[in-house]
């Protein structure tokens, strides 16, 4: 499967990228404390699509109410974080950029921690996360823009500053929290986990993530203009300010939605885009769809492990790093590195 000159994916890759998440999802639906075979999973799904009830109520409830929303959330979060990481890396022409580069994840996490401190319910926590994530990026933009020269590097710098400001605020919330009940809740929430998934939280976060991912898929060829220097980009004849603005807004909205639903899930936004760049080069025609697919698969696998390795659920960001780092190093050594 050699790379095509025009940067499009070959037919074999397209099939793999579409089928792989479905296979992963069906297998993951069967794994857990109660083991369900893929055949039974199919029966439940077929019955659900037809609007009927499956034979076993227990199996149906496990698949449809417990595991399915969680897997949908894994798909959305994995695809969303990967594609926003990919967009930010290109936007800043910096391989170390992550969805958190503009401080959005820290802001959203602060909002959620504050929500827990005040004692909001899940939806309230999610809304606080979204609002503070947006607020953090607005602050970054205010602090970093308005300069004649410098442009993007000012924004990256102020993003790092705003990010650490909100990290400090999180520490302050923890400090102020009740050590018996609230502090563990906040700490556990910050480590990330998809256990809060249900159709109600999904209905709030999913539309934003889906809209963002679809947008990136639509403008993916034009995203190739993102890493260009200012003058080069301007000379392309394309409205680059608009392109950059849309990229920032979409990636920020996706990240804030993800963090507000499942806490800070690190690594996905860095690991998956780089994996795709090593496999397919830098053309966004291929790395955007690849990031979406591989991000979803990676997150399904990691979350399935998080909920089934031990009796107590393991926070997902611990696993993303423990699986991600070695995997990344092997890939990097094999492919001989990459560049943005």
């Amino acid at each position: 499967m050699s790379l095509r000159r025009d940067g499009r994916l070959g037919a074999a890759w397209i099939i793999i990228l579409i089928v792989l998440p479905f296979i992963a999802a069906v297998i993951a639906l069967g794994i857990g404390r109660m083991s369900i075979s893929p055949g039974e999973v199919f029966d439940v799904l077929r019955a659900a699509i037809a609007g009927k009830h499956a034979d076993s109520e227990l199996i149906e409830k496990t698949v449809m109410q417990l595991r399915l929303p969680r897997i949908i959330l894994a798909v959305l979060v994995g695809a969303g974080l990967s594609v926003s990481g990919c967009a930010f890396q290109s936007l800043f022409a910096n391989p170390l950029a992550t969805p958190d580069t503009l401080g959005v994840a820290s802001g959203a996490a602060f909002g959620a921690a504050l929500g827990i401190l005040i004692g909001f319910d899940l939806i309230g926590i999610q809304l606080m996360g979204l609002a503070m994530g947006g607020f953090a990026v607005a602050l970054t933009w205010l602090a970093g823009s308005g300069k004649d020269r410098g442009g993007l590097s000012y924004i990256v710098l102020s993003g790092i500053m705003i990010g650490s400001l909100f990290s400090a605020l999180i520490s302050f919330v923890k400090f102020a929290a009740d050590a018996e009940s609230q502090l563990p809740a906040i700490t556990y929430w910050l480590m990330g986990g998809l256990d809060k998934a249900n159709y109600r939280t999904l209905s709030l976060g999913a539309p934003v993530i889906i809209a963002g991912v679809v947008l990136f898929m639509l403008i993916r060829w034009r995203m190739n203009l993102l890493p260009l220097s200012d003058d080069e980009a301007k000379a392309s004849g394309v409205n680059v300010r608009l392109l950059r603005g849309v990229t920032v807004v979409a990636a920020t909205a996706i990240t804030a939605s993800c963090v507000s639903m499942c806490g800070q899930v690190g690594w996905v936004g860095l690991l998956i885009p780089h994996m795709c760049r090593m496999l397919f080069g830098n053309n966004h025609l291929s790395i955007v769809p690849a990031s979406v697919s591989f991000g979803a698969v990676f997150m399904i696998i990691v979350d399935t492990m998080a909920r089934s390795i031990s009796a107590a659920e393991i926070p997902v960001s611990i696993l993303t790093a423990m699986i991600g780092a070695p995997f990344f190093i092997v890939l990097m050594r094999r492919s001989g590195g990459w560049r943005i």
Binding site: R5, D6, G7, R8, A93, D148, L218, I219, R220, W221, R222, N224, L225, P227, L228, S229, D230, D231, E232, K234, A235, S236, G237, V238, N239, G281, N282, N283, L285, R339, I340
Partner: protein
Amino acid sequence: MSLLRIENGSFAYRSGPQTLKDINIELEPGEILAVLGPNGAGKTTLLRCMMDMLHWQSGRSLLDGEDIRSIPASKLWRRMAYVPQARSAAVSYTAFQTVLLGRSSRIGAFSAPSEADMKAAEQVMERLGISHLADKPCYAISGGELQMVLIARAMAAEPEILVLDEPESNLDFKNQLIVLDTMTALAAEGVACIFNTHYPAHALQRAGKSLMLSKDGRSVFGDTTSVVTEDNIRRAFGVDALIGEVETPHNVMKNVVAVGITEEKVPDAPCEKDKDILASVTVIMRSNERASLINSAFRDYNHLLIGRMGLPHRKSEKYIISVMLEGPAADIEALSHRLSLIPDISVKTTYEQEG
């Protein structure tokens, strides 16, 4: 009406003296304009202002008489293309993908390049002789090759005006020649080229018109022979230079040698070459491919012509043109220089002995 004009362009950075003052240039299709000046005189700033990447503080740039600021970007950048300095270019894509990016203004926001776009990119690469680089990543090719890829990207937009920022800097002897020859060939096909350069010799050998910037904001614009002179080089660069000629069997090429740093201040008085003299020019062409360029040069200097003889040499299918001239020495020199810039022909001028 000229293809591209700058009218009284002035620009200063917020913290600093006036960089550019009352710049006036004019450019026609197929002409090459060299922008010369010492470091810090504002060569790159001039190009950026001209293309409206920076805004003139007063004055304006006109494309076919229309203010560039009022032309929508997608339209402007189909007619004009920019080749940045290689070291400031993004290099993450393969050469082919980089060239394809030159088609951006013709590709919709939600679309990918069409077959026609791909074909156009392939053709440009073939025309510039870099097809073999297509699948190599730009960070893995040499500086000269990257410069050619960037020129190809610009040409993929099918522009009428090509703006090049120091295209031959940091290149070795051969690659400099490849880049300059490419520019000359594109101009011969009708593309107007503007390039910044550190080499006065390249202006003399390639450009019909030149703009020389000084650090104090003053500038001289005109035919290269009247701009790139020993006096002006002394004034703008503070360097004593000698302009000499190197003769090959086909051509006479001008060259500049720096002899030393100027010690005393130079008087401002321009020296004029307005004495009428006699001269003759002989041109030999291998085919009549360049005939229209030669004819248009003679047409523009019609007032100098006192006799003309064209002779196709049937046996070898070559052409000889011989022209007798009378007029101001500066005009004859300008015509002779213009002919010397046309590629693929042999041309020499003989001047009357003075005194």
